[in-house]
Amino acid sequence: MTPFNHPDQFDVTVIGGGHAGCEAALAAARLGVKTLLLTQDLDTIAAMSCNPSIGGVGKGQLVREIDALGGEMGKITDFSMLSCHMLNTSKGAAVRSPRAQCDKRMYQAAMKTALERQPNLRLVQDEAAAILTRAGRACGVATARGTRYASRTVVLTAGTFLRGLIHIGLDTFPGGRYNHPPSSLLSKSLTELGFKLGRLKTGTPMRLHARGIDFSKCDRQEPDAPPAPFSHFTAKITNPQLPCWITRTNAATAAAIRAGLHLSPLYSGKINSTGPRYCPSIEDKVVKFPHHGAHHLFLEPEGFGTEEYYVNGLSTSLPEGTQAEIVRSVPGLEKAEIMRAGYAIEYDFSDPSQLDYTLETRPLPGLFMAGQVNGTTGYEEAAGQGLVAGINAALSVLGREPLVLRRDEAYLGVMIDDLVSKGIDEPYRIFTSRAEYRLMLRTDNADLRLSGRGLELGLLDPALKKSFGAYQAAVADLLAGRKPKALPRGPWKAAKARATAAIEKTYALYIERNRKEAEKMKKFEHLRIPADFDYPAIKALPNEARHKLEKNKPLTLAQAGRIPGVTPADIQLLWVLLEKRRGGLK
């Protein structure tokens, strides 16, 4: 290893080329700062390590928000989509979300191209080994090859790679994804920098070859026709659409699983870390819901030019022999060939309560974190954080106001506030039930909520301003009962304005209540609590509240109010002390 100081000074260095890293790097570069993306392997840019699917309830809203702000995920999804479903069509507009299967290689290739064509962005294949610091700030990255990159800010998007450990049955081996080495050096670097790390677990099912699947025994799930684009800027989906297939487990499956449980790393006590409750392994489902005779399985193509199928619902870390028996027990899969075995992975995450709303870390200014390293799960959650972290890293270099989205503005705001305020005890997934202003945060109005910000920031093409402005005016006109003016050429169409206005009208009563509540909250969102606020000194606070505040170190008075166990009386007291301090500093 020959140490080498790279001669360039970067503004933003992104570590990791996953869904978070890609959005972070693109956003920073688009804001005009000199950006570097470091990845172990340029051929795994935007890899869909688990299900090649984007969207779902809550997640679909995130993708629309990313897109409205000028992110990439929606466009790439539209480009690579092979089967699309609008979910919850029988329910209200607030919970309607798209979900799409993608061709996973097309997705990766398209994202890699987007990165390569992005001015201000340099891509380098090397493993980050340590965060460099100077005077208590991040100032660059040292790589495993010994190169040192100077950078004003660093965005860490390490995914599941920090001390990643893969489990199949009782066998374990290091890996950040199957067949890819983990990064253990970075974990050490973070610990040395004083970060609190924890351990989480997630898993993935086996992949099957199509020729062994008897589709006549499965139910056919037709894709939507015509498929609806995720992105505001995609006129039409041109890919052909493929069906997915549904089959189900049975008593024989449950029996095979029970017979193999003693070899399960989850049930033998080998894995102690927590997995996401929403993505349970099949062994978890069978153990926790023994009275459910059958669990649905979705067979989803992994691409156009491949015979590989993803078995959605069979996530498992049981040994390979048991996996084979499980598959054999399922109608339609009796003769299926397993191409890749399912596995579980344990990895380090950094406690997200160490983050600020900008996703800059509090222990080390200049270092931002996004994605699974913050304890979340899902490509959409990762991409959303990556976008916000990349934007804020660039804005801080430019000396501009940071982008902080409130809970009433975006699911991005809900997610980040949840992470920052409460920390996590299982991998965090977005749900619409987490949003108290759910009726305001819809896929149809993501643009109205956020595209103004995207234009202001400079992430959206300024040429879109006219079309968007006219669209905003048209929706306002329709809501006021006026006849809207004709819309100019551009992505925003009159039919969409009418649909959104109609939704707003049905929800008007409820949205009005939500708005009032949010308005009240805003005042408290803006009351920042200084980092050195001395809670133990406030003897007037009840013990429980004092401990919780000391532990959570809320950033704002509103956030303090969201901590369970902190009462309005406590908030009042804090408010007085904050005002006093503010007055005292004048």
């Binding site: 509103a558 309005p568 009386a569 009042q572």
Partner: protein, 454 residues
């Protein structure tokens, strides 16, 4: 989430509770003048700033008191907002009535230190004085905390928690389906759901009714009447109250439950609890249950009246009662009463008060003895109104949301996301009693009951 609100109208007693013959009740906020005008007469349309006026306090047509009111126009007031200060007579009854009239006129009971907080935020106090605000809030919180503990014992929060659990589980049913990306969960059974929602609403309304007009929280001197079966506990209670609150019969063991009744004695609020007789040999399950409730009531009493029948010799049940009554908390008083003193005496005991519930003999002495040296009741009177007014407001609002939920469920295709809004709002109303319901609690319920996700 409930955060401090500074733009509504609040009311509270401004003088220290129990301070003396006069009390000051303060109203502050944009509706202060209007609220005061609804029960003070005659109030001119444009009251003169800072002029004191003698006015009648009226509850409808009934004259409650004659009081002096001063109207301050904001910002030239203590809080910086429109403010009315009413000096009335210091009886807990009058204070409570005026508070209730203000609440009925749309004011909200002020939290601890809230007037001072407004004064501070409106620039009426300097930094040094602000220190005092903190102390005031802290002291008030301690008081509120104490009140909360009393309610926990009183079972209020247990009942509210029961309602909350029901609402969380209803909400989870909806949220699980709204967040179901694979549309796997079977459709909601609307009729069953509506039935459960209606039951939750009924309990909420019932509980709210108990808090109406500031009577819900049984704050005051807690006196438990206990003794062997048929010693005349219920007759004594009735004699004290002057009407038949407890069912009295000559058959021993009539009172299997505890009965509560409230009485103003010499200006103090006294809450009597009549317990089941403490039988030496508890027979039925029902009887045992009644007796365990009696034991619980004794454990939180301020005074215990141990009643024995003077017309018979001491029994095993008497000895058992004596033992139970001795378990009263530290600082509480034990008052021994020999009842049926109008009959030939079969026993006597030094320090016992001889009475007859039947003839009324000895009752005036007992009344005086009960409130002698009691400061506690006075202190708690106003606090009780405030706390219970808050509970009433919270529970009624929650019931209102559940009423709107019922209307939604009657639609042909009930909109689940709107039904969820109503349940969320109902839970948010209850948060002032029990604290926040976090989305994590709802998610936990979902994952406990539904096998969701892939």
């Amino acid at each position: 989430m409930k955060l401090p609100e500074t733009s509504d109208t609040i009311v509270a007693q401004a003088t220290p509770p129990g301070a003396g013959a006069l009390a000051v009740i303060r109203l502050s906020g944009p509706q202060a003048f209007g609220a005061a005008a609804s029960f003070l007469s005659p109030v001119p349309a444009e009251p003169v700033h800072r002029a004191a006026r003698m006015l009648a306090v009226k509850d409808g047509a009934r004259l409650v008191d004659r009081a002096v009111a001063v109207f301050y126009r904001g910002p030239a007031s203590y809080t910086g907002q429109d403010t009315v200060e009413i000096s009335c007579h210091g009886s807990p009854y009058i204070i409570r009535t005026i508070m209730n009239l203000a609440l009925r006129a749309g004011a909200r009971p002020a939290g601890p230190g809230e007037f001072t907080l407004r004064a501070f935020l409106n620039g009426k106090l300097d930094l040094v004085q602000a220190e005092a605000v903190g102390e005031l809030i802290a002291a008030g919180s301690a008081e509120a905390h104490r009140a909360a503990i009393t309610q926990v014992e009183g079972g209020v929060s247990e009942r509210v928690r029961g309602i909350k659990t029901a609402l969380v589980s209803l909400l989870a049913e909806l949220e699980a389906r709204l967040d179901d990306s694979y549309e796997e969960i079977p459709a909601l059974k609307t009729r069953d759901f509506a039935r459960r929602a209606a039951a939750a609403r009924a309990s909420t309304l019932e509980l709210a009714k108990g808090f109406e007009a500031g009577r819900g929280i049984k704050e005051g001197l807690k006196v438990v009447i206990t003794g062997a079966p048929n010693s005349g506990k219920s007759s004594l209670l009735n004699a004290l109250l002057g009407y038949d609150r407890a069912m009295v019969s000559r058959q021993a063991g009539t009172t299997r439950d505890t009965l509560e009744a409230e009485l103003e004695l010499h200006g103090f609020t006294v809450i009597f609890t009549d317990t089941a007789g403490l039988n030496a040999r508890a027979a039925s399950r029902l009887e045992r249950e009644g007796m365990s409730r009696a034991a619980k009531a004794i454990a939180r009493a301020d005074a215990v009246i141990l009643v024995s029948d003077a017309s018979i010799k001491e029994t095993a049940s008497d000895r058992r009662s004596e033992k139970e009554a001795a378990r009263l908390p530290a600082g509480a008083r034990l008052i021994r009463v020999l009842n049926k003193a109008d009959l030939p005496l079969k026993r006597s005991r030094r320090g016992s008060l001889k009475i007859s519930a039947r003839t009324g003999a000895g009752l005036p002495a007992l009344r005086t003895l009960l409130v002698a040296g009691q400061k506690k009741v006075f202190r708690d009177g106003a606090q009780a109104v405030v706390t219970s007014a808050r509970h009433f407001a919270a529970l009624s609002a929650a019931a209102g949301e559940l009423g709107a939920l019922r209307a939604l469920l009657e639609r042909k295709e009930p909109p689940a996301e709107l039904a969820a809004e109503r349940l969320r709002a109902a839970l948010s109303e209850l948060s002032s009693i029990l604290g926040e319901t976090t989305p994590e609690e709802v998610l936990a319920d979902i994952f406990r009951h539904f096998c969701v996700g892939k």
